[in-house]
């Protein structure tokens, strides 16, 4: 929150990387994989 020095501070919460998120990330990779692979080789 705003303080005497005129700065506006917003606290951030940190979410640890966990196994559930990793599984979800792999699902997303599968979902988006071909698109990303295509981009990797510079194809539109």
């Amino acid at each position: 929150l705003a303080s005497a020095d005129g700065l506006v501070r917003i606290g951030l919460k940190k979410r640890p990387i966990d196994e559930n998120n990793r599984i979800a990330a792999r699902l997303v990779e599968k979902e988006e994989g071909p698109l990303l692979a295509a981009r990797r080789y510079g194809l539109r």
Binding site: L7, I10, D18, A24, A25, R40
Partner: protein, 447 residues
């Protein structure tokens, strides 16, 4: 070659992976404020949250939804909007309302009420929406970003904001974003500033990347980099990520194309490098790429991976061109280290096995972390190093512990690339100042 529609030119955004985003903050929208958890994302420029009119997306069931009917400061806009991320898309319509950030109230802010969030990304996401801190140039619908309104409405002292991510796993505090300046408690020494080179993203010019003090060569001539708080990992050119993977023992994906290029063209590439042929022309000389004066581009030729079943798939030949260009860089580096021919080919085959999957994660052995090399990025002529404990992420504890490399591959062709995305892994080590008034980005050791 087809003309791009509105929003489609933001193809870098399309490579973001919000799945791994780790840091969130809270904002309020409307009067009285409705609370939302958002990612403060320097790699995009729109504000969006789920709408109470989102009925058919599972993601909306799990997140707070904005109810315009409950806000006395709401103004209807209604213009439709959609944003395509690599890990999903959202669509909906624009609305206008007050946005509370800390104790500041940004008045008449345009934002997107998302009515469709079809991707699995947003179902499992721990955040409700995204608050973009990039430039208006990449804002979908040309909406004025929250940050611009904060400055225009005179809510902050200086047109600067800064990030501090707390990498101390045992500390409950996640980090802090400071609007109006930088908190001296969260950095050490002075910031090294570099100018923004491509307004839209917080993009700047970066130099060589070193692994264990040795040049990787690829960014000697300069690479672009984007400071992106909305991305967890560090993403960069496959050429360098494969070298890093080889040094840290990260498991990658075996690439047949890569091994085929080394087997069939390796000797030829080596001879040409020794004969001091311009490296950028080698892959076109052997027919894998077309030389366009600056870089190799795919010749669209047939693959010779399997001579019995010749294929003409454009993707495969593009891959061969790409792999050839990587092989040239790798070989150049090896030659400069006076390695023997045998060692050079062994090393290249090892690198082929360490080719990462694009935007995917690589596992490493947790017990080897202490012996892994530092990896340094040259920014503004200064080396910014990451120690292994800073670029390796640990999941779980004790026997269940798994270690993931903080590096992932991302290949963006010229003129936008080669490109690095410096996500939370980098911004955790270095306190980052986004100086809008002077169009520059600054890095200092995080405290």
């Amino acid at each position: 070659g087809a003309p791009l529609k509105e929003g489609e030119e933001t193809d870098i955004i399309a490579l973001k992976n919000y799945m791994n985003a780790q840091y969130f903050g809270e904002i309020g929208i409307g009067t009285p404020p409705q609370k939302f958890t958002v990612i403060f994302d320097t790699g995009s420029s729109n504000l969006w949250v789920p709408s109470s009119k989102c009925y058919f997306s599972i993601a909306c069931l799990f997140h707070t939804k904005y109810k315009s009917g409950r806000s006395s400061s709401y103004h209807k806009n209604g213009k439709s909007a959609s944003i395509h991320y690599g890990t999903g898309a959202i669509s909906g319509f624009f609305s206008t309302d007050h946005v509370k950030v800390g104790d500041l109230v940004v008045k008449t802010q345009d934002f997107i009420e998302a009515t469709k969030e079809p991707s699995v990304t947003f179902v499992v996401a721990k955040f409700d929406g995204i608050l973009g801190l990039g430039f208006q140039e990449i804002s979908v619908g040309n909406a004025v970003p929250v940050w611009y309104n904060m400055v225009d409405q005179g809510l902050i002292k200086e047109p600067v904001f800064s990030f501090w991510f707390n990498r101390n796993a045992n500390d409950g505090e996640g980090g802090e974003i400071v609007f109006g300046g930088a908190d001296p408690n969260h950095y050490k020494g002075n910031h090294t500033y570099v100018p923004v080179t491509q307004k839209g993203y917080w993009q700047f010019e970066m130099g060589d990347v070193l692994v264990g003090g040795q040049s990787t060569g690829f960014c000697n001539g300069g690479c672009a980099a984007i400071a992106d708080s909305g991305t967890s990992l560090l993403a960069g050119p496959t050429t360098i990520i494969a070298e890093i993977n080889q040094k840290i023992g990260a498991s990658g994906v075996v690439s047949q194309e890569c091994k085929a290029v080394v087997a069939e063209y390796g000797q030829q590439i080596l001879q040409m490098l020794l004969a001091e042929v311009q490296p950028g022309k080698i892959c076109s000389s052997i027919g894998l790429c077309t030389f366009d004066g600056k870089q190799g581009v795919s010749a669209g030729i047939e693959s010779v991976v399997n001579k019995d079943t010749r294929r003409s798939a454009a993707g495969l030949s593009d891959a061969m061109c790409n792999v050839c260009e990587m092989a040239v860089v790798w070989m150049q580096n090896q030659i400069s280290q006076n390695q023997t021919q045998e060692l050079i080919f062994n090393y290249l085959n090892q690198l082929c096995e360490k080719l990462p999957s694009p935007m995917g994660e690589s596992s490493v052995d947790c017990s080897s972390v202490a012996s892994m090399p530092d990896i340094s990025f040259t920014i503004g002529g200064k080396k910014f190093s990451l120690k292994p404990e800073q670029y390796i992420l640990q999941v779980g504890e004790g026997y269940a512990a798994q270690c993931i490399s903080g590096f992932t591959a991302l290949d963006v062709p010229p003129p936008r690339g080669p490109l690095w995305i410096l996500g939370d892994v980098f911004m955790g080590a270095y306190h980052t100042v986004f100086d809008y008034g002077n169009m520059r980005v600054g890095f200092a050791d995080a405290a």
